[in-house]
């Protein structure tokens, strides 16, 4: 039994040594070791229309690939395997026969002998194409930089979803790179996060996401841009400065005008004062001049041209007409008899207005009474204005004229009172506003009324 055990042990050891020597290499003794045929591959889908690209290479650059080849099996639309094309040290295949579902087997073969194989999924070793057309635009109004770039995968059917990495740095800081990941092709960089007046370099690369996985693409061509200089703390836009100055001055002018015109214009409109009846009446009625003689004495109005009125007529027109046709004294004498020349502004037109026709009748009566100078001299009625009162100082002259009328020395003049009474009779509807009342018993009453009126002022 012992001998048998020893024999088995020897045989076992010999077997082990023999089996270990065949592929054993230690301490760099590689004379009999097989070379390392490990390799790595990546795929690019739709690089040329519907054609896909699969590229493989040995990890060890020292591998003698003279007679080596690659082939891919499984995961194809065709039965069997497809061989790679060798280009220097790179093996590739461009075809549209990839199923893109399931694993494929990629093998290294020497002639017809398979050296090594690896199982790979074509959609998990995708390397996108590098982005291109990187641009940076500065927006002064927003104080930021808009980074845009383009990628060919936007028009592809399979690998459409990518993650893009934007890397930028200040050129003087060689290794201080900033990285930003995004899924779109547009990025905004704030100006305050960058150094002012500095030169920057920026580049982009992509990697597939979702169903398709793989590696980062190559970097895009770099783009260089310079940031603007920093603005001063107190620097303002010139337009804004002008507007602010103009606004300040406008406000100041408005305040001054408001203060100046407050009492005269603004306050009466904003806070109108309630009218005082007494003061309003005083304003309506003009104060007579102090030198104005107010009297009911007919002698005061001798110099005053008094015309009877029949309707509203211009005083100047009437005076001129009367001067042409009648002697001035006769007019005045008639007016004296009438006694209706002096009146206030509220003299009604129908008040003591006697038509010429009527008056002629009276004149004829006077003629019969011996007043020759009066005959044939119709008197046109006219209205008198309050200005007549102003000519009160000429009153006595009027009367004198009357008395000294041509050819009237022997004429007797009836006192005006009867005519006045006649006039008053002819116009029984005369308004109570008749100021020139007969100088008789009502004289004192009228005088009191006038005086009291001015006293109220």
């Amino acid at each position: 039994m012992t001998i048998l055990g020893i024999a088995f042990g020897i045989v076992f050891c010999l077997l082990r040594v023999v089996s270990g020597e065949s592929g054993y290499a230690q301490n760099g003794d590689l004379e009999d070791a097989e070379p390392d045929y490990s390799f790595s591959c990546y795929s690019q889908l739709e690089v040329n229309g519907s054609q896909h690209l699969l590229r493989c290479a040995f990890d060890d650059p020292d591998v003698n690939s003279t007679h080596l080849g690659f082939e891919i099996c499984d995961g194809l639309l065709v039965a069997g395997c497809l061989n790679f094309i060798k280009l220097q040290e790179i093996y590739f295949i461009e075809t549209n026969k990839f199923l893109l579902i399931g694993d494929s087997k990629i093998c290294v073969k020497l002639g017809q002998r398979i050296l090594t194989c690896r199982k790979m999924n074509i959609v998990h070793i995708v390397k996108p194409e590098a982005p291109f057309d990187v641009r940076v635009i500065y927006r002064e109004e927003a104080n930021d930089f808009v980074v845009t770039f383009n990628t060919s995968h936007l028009q592809k059917k399979y690998v459409k979803n990518l993650i893009h990495e934007v890397a930028y740095h200040q050129e003087k800081n060689e290794h201080d790179w900033m990285h930003v990941n995004l899924s779109s092709t547009k990025l905004t960089l704030l100006q305050r996060k960058l150094q002012p007046d500095a030169m920057y370099e920026i580049k982009v690369r992509s990697i597939p996401t979702d169903y398709y996985k793989g590696f980062w693409s190559e970097w895009s061509p770099s783009f260089h841009f310079r940031t603007p200089e920093a603005k001063g703390p107190g620097k303002m836009e010139p337009v804004l400065l002008i507007i602010s100055i103009l606004s300040f001055f406008s406000v100041a002018v408005m305040v001054i005008l408001a203060g100046v015109l407050w009492k005269k214009r603004i306050k009466p409109i904003v806070w109108p004062s309630l009218p005082d009846h007494k003061k309003t009446l005083e304003q309506l009625c003009k104060k007579p001049k102090k030198n104005l003689t107010v009297s009911f004495n007919p002698e005061s109005f001798l110099d005053c041209q008094i015309h009877k009125v029949d309707g509203i007529q211009a005083r100047d027109e009437v005076e001129s007409f009367l001067q042409d046709t009648f002697p001035a004294q006769l007019e005045e004498s008639e007016k004296q008899r009438l006694g209706g020349g002096v009146q206030c502004p509220n003299w009604p037109s129908k008040h003591a207005v006697i038509t010429p026709k009527t008056f002629r009748g009276d004149a004829s009566l006077r003629c019969l009474a011996g007043n020759v100078s009066v005959c044939g001299t119709p008197v046109l009625p006219s209205s008198r204005s309050p200005e007549c009162r102003e000519g009160g100082k000429n009153g006595p002259h009027v009367y004198q004229g009357l008395l000294l009328g041509p050819g009237t020395t022997n004429a007797t003049l009836h006192p005006p009172f009867p005519f006045q009474s006649e006039i008053l009779t002819l116009n029984p509807a005369a308004q109570g506003q008749l100021l020139l009342t007969p100088l008789g018993s009502n004289q004192e009453e009228a005088y009191v009324t006038m005086s009291s009126f001015y006293q109220n002022q």
Binding site: S50, L77, Y158
Partner: protein, 176 residues
Amino acid sequence: MFHVSFRYIFGIPPLILVLLPVASSDCEIEGKSGEEYQHVIMVSLNDLDRIRENDSNCLNNEPNFFKKHSCDDDKEATFLKTAARKLKQFLKMNIHEEFKLHLSIVSQGTLKLLNCTRKDKEKKQPSLGEVQPTKNLEEKKSSKGQKKQDEMCFLMILLEKIKTCWNKILSGTKEH
């Protein structure tokens, strides 16, 4: 009594064993997540629709094939397998290469995702003409152009059925 128990012991179990393979599906759907279908098969289906969108002069009558094979409940995998194999017949037709490419992707991609374990010999699929036996008499009368038109119409219906069945599978998976 004794002979009755023998009947139940030796009669019914063999019957069950015989019928079980028929009732059960030999395909297991692997792509239930929907990623492979959405990113590969559906892309080809859309391209096929785009290629054939100008040619839609098809009759509304459903071919007999679909009366025999339908995407019923628990029979989705079987239907897809049959439909995918049917698509292969169209690869032999004289059609555009791009069209053939997408047909291949749909057919083989579907079969790949179904992962059918039972690799039964593919029965010799009846020719396209035999699919519609009612039309055997008509084929003799119609021209080749009409025949091709009918085949294309059948193909479009088949693709539509495959798309519908896939959507049914994926929606059922999401509900669970």
